[in-house]
């Protein structure tokens, strides 16, 4: 019996039967995201520091890397690592291949963001730190990096949300993440519109709160809210001393 309302029979997939598949897919998606983001951040920071090095032999390979991976589609990188590498004897499991592809791709973008942020720190900051007897490592860790993080945060946040969505490309190598689960459900139920609408809604329900949280973090840091426990403790100590009139 067909209804006169066009959307009345839109939702016919027995979603409660697929709930656990979707749950597992979502957890995998978040796993890919977190692992790739950590890897891309570490590699991106390394590349950024290489590109700011005064030695050409250090700068050039990093610049070359960035240009290559910025100008190649992510899908091509995924296919190369998963389908291409086995023919030269490198057989990666799907999780490693997926994470590696995302790391390689996003590190290029993050390195650009980090490089601009670090280069944006006034040279007087380094000079003041050195004049206070702080070594190179301490200066970087306590003076340059915290300021660079503030500058890099907006761009990095955008990339993080972009990365969540890009994990869906891993459907092409059957990575068993959310989009792969969606494809399976769609092929079982033949209800592509319904399935992909629900999946799109799930991606939105993840990405939107994440980006809002990151925005809140950005604003808090910009407003000078101390986030580290050490800073809170020191400021508390100072406040107590000031109030007791030492």
């Amino acid at each position: 019996m067909t209804s006169s309302l066009p959307f009345a029979d839109l939702f016919q997939v027995p979603w409660n039967e697929y709930a656990s598949n979707l749950g597992i897919g979502l957890v995998r998606t978040l796993g890919y995201t977190v692992a790739s983001f950590i890897g891309a951040t570490v590699l991106g920071l390394g590349l950024a520091l290489m590109r700011l090095n005064h030695l050409r032999v250090v700068r050039v390979p990093a610049a070359l890397y960035t240009e290559i991976f910025k100008n190649v589609p992510l899908l091509a990188i995924i296919f190369l690592t998963y389908f291409g590498l086995p023919s030269v004897g490198v057989k990666l499991n799907v999780f490693v291949a997926g994470v590696l592809s995302l790391v390689l791709f996003y590190a290029a973008y993050l390195s650009e963001i980090f490089r601009a942020a670090i280069a944006g720190i006034h040279p007087g900051q380094n000079e003041a730190a050195h004049a206070l007897g702080l070594g190179r490592g301490t200066t970087f860790g306590h003076v340059v990096l915290p300021q660079a993080l503030r500058l890099a945060l907006p761009g990095t946040n955008t990339m993080f949300v972009d990365l969540i969505k890009s994990t869906s490309l891993l459907v092409t190598i059957s990575a068993a993440e959310l989009m792969t689960e969606a494809q399976l459900i769609a092929s079982e139920t033949f209800r592509a519109l319904e399935v992909y609408l629900v999946i799109a809604a799930i991606y939105f329900a993840v990405c939107y709160p994440v980006s809002q949280c990151l925005l809140w973090l950005e604003r808090s840091i910009q407003a000078g809210v101390p986030l580290s426990l050490g800073r809170r403790r020191r400021l508390g100590l100072a406040r107590a001393l000031l109030e007791s009139g030492v």
Partner: protein, 266 residues
């Protein structure tokens, strides 16, 4: 250490007292262009020396050599009884220790903008001098109180006036217990009121016997704050002497021309 400093301050007129800073035959070039050469300068303990001269005349570079932010090409520098640089090489064992003994204040303050005033004063104490957290915070609060900024201790630099920022910078430099303070044009980014604030702090320090070297363009400020003036031109010391002598009765024609130009309202 502090008593010793005060003691030698009283004897600062005696010629054989160990100078706080001794510069001999110092030479520096950038890309083959001589910045200065053959500079000899002794700064006795407790003296406040202004280095004046044309822009690009090497005054700032000379001062930056004293804490080795800049490496000279030749000559020697001693801080107290330690030779830190001799004949083209750094001879001090520990650069961090040297910089604890020689504090520096910059023209643009260079405070750490991501930290509050009190944290600016704490940072190097904990990470360069290995002072414990509680003691570092206590000392920071004490120093900020001393420069009249106790109520601004929790503020970020961007919320402070130039004069306040420069006073935080002075507290930051003092936190490591230096015997010598270097000031690189400390008031040229400040309005007259802020200049007055910085001047008051420097006078306080002078009373305690702190040795200070400053580079400045502002001759009234040099006259107010210093007791010795060194005029540098063309990479050489042209004239030096008591502030009043050099600024009011210069012996050299080049000094006279410079003083006449900079003393006149711009």
């Amino acid at each position: 250490m502090a008593l010793e400093t005060l003691g030698s301050t009283r004897n600062k007129k005696t010629a054989d007292a160990q100078p706080a800073v001794r510069i001999s035959g110092l030479r520096k070039s950038f890309d083959g262009r001589l910045v200065f050469g053959g500079i000899d300068l002794d700064v006795p303990v407790g003296r406040i020396v202004s280095i004046i001269g044309q822009s690009g005349g090497g005054k700032t570079t000379l001062m930056r050599c004293v804490n080795l932010l800049e490496r000279p090409d030749g000559g020697s520098i001693a801080i107290g009884d330690e030779t830190i640089f001799a004949d083209g090489g750094v001879t001090c064992r520990d650069l961090a220790k040297l910089r604890q003994r020689v504090g520096m204040v910059f023209q643009r303050f260079n405070l750490f903008p991501h930290l509050t005033a009190v944290e600016n004063v704490v940072l190097a104490q904990m990470h360069a001098a290995a002072i414990g957290e509680r003691e570092a915070v206590e000392r920071a609060v004490r120093l900020l109180t001393r420069v009249g900024l106790a109520r601004r201790a929790m503020a970020y630099p961007e919320r402070m006036s130039g004069g306040e920022q420069q006073r935080v910078a002075i507290a930051r430099a003092l936190a490591l217990g230096p015997t010598v303070l270097l000031f690189d044009e400390p008031t040229s980014a400040l309005d007259p009121e802020s200049t007055g604030e910085v001047l008051r702090v420097m006078r306080e320090l002078a009373k305690d016997g702190m040795t200070m070297i400053l580079v400045t363009h502002e001759l009234p400020f040099a006259r107010e704050v210093s007791d010795w003036v060194v005029f540098i031109d063309g990479g050489r010391i042209i004239e030096q002497g008591a502030a009043a002598d050099v600024l009011d009765r210069p012996r050299e024609a080049r000094t006279a021309a410079y003083v006449a130009r900079y003393a006149a309202p711009a």
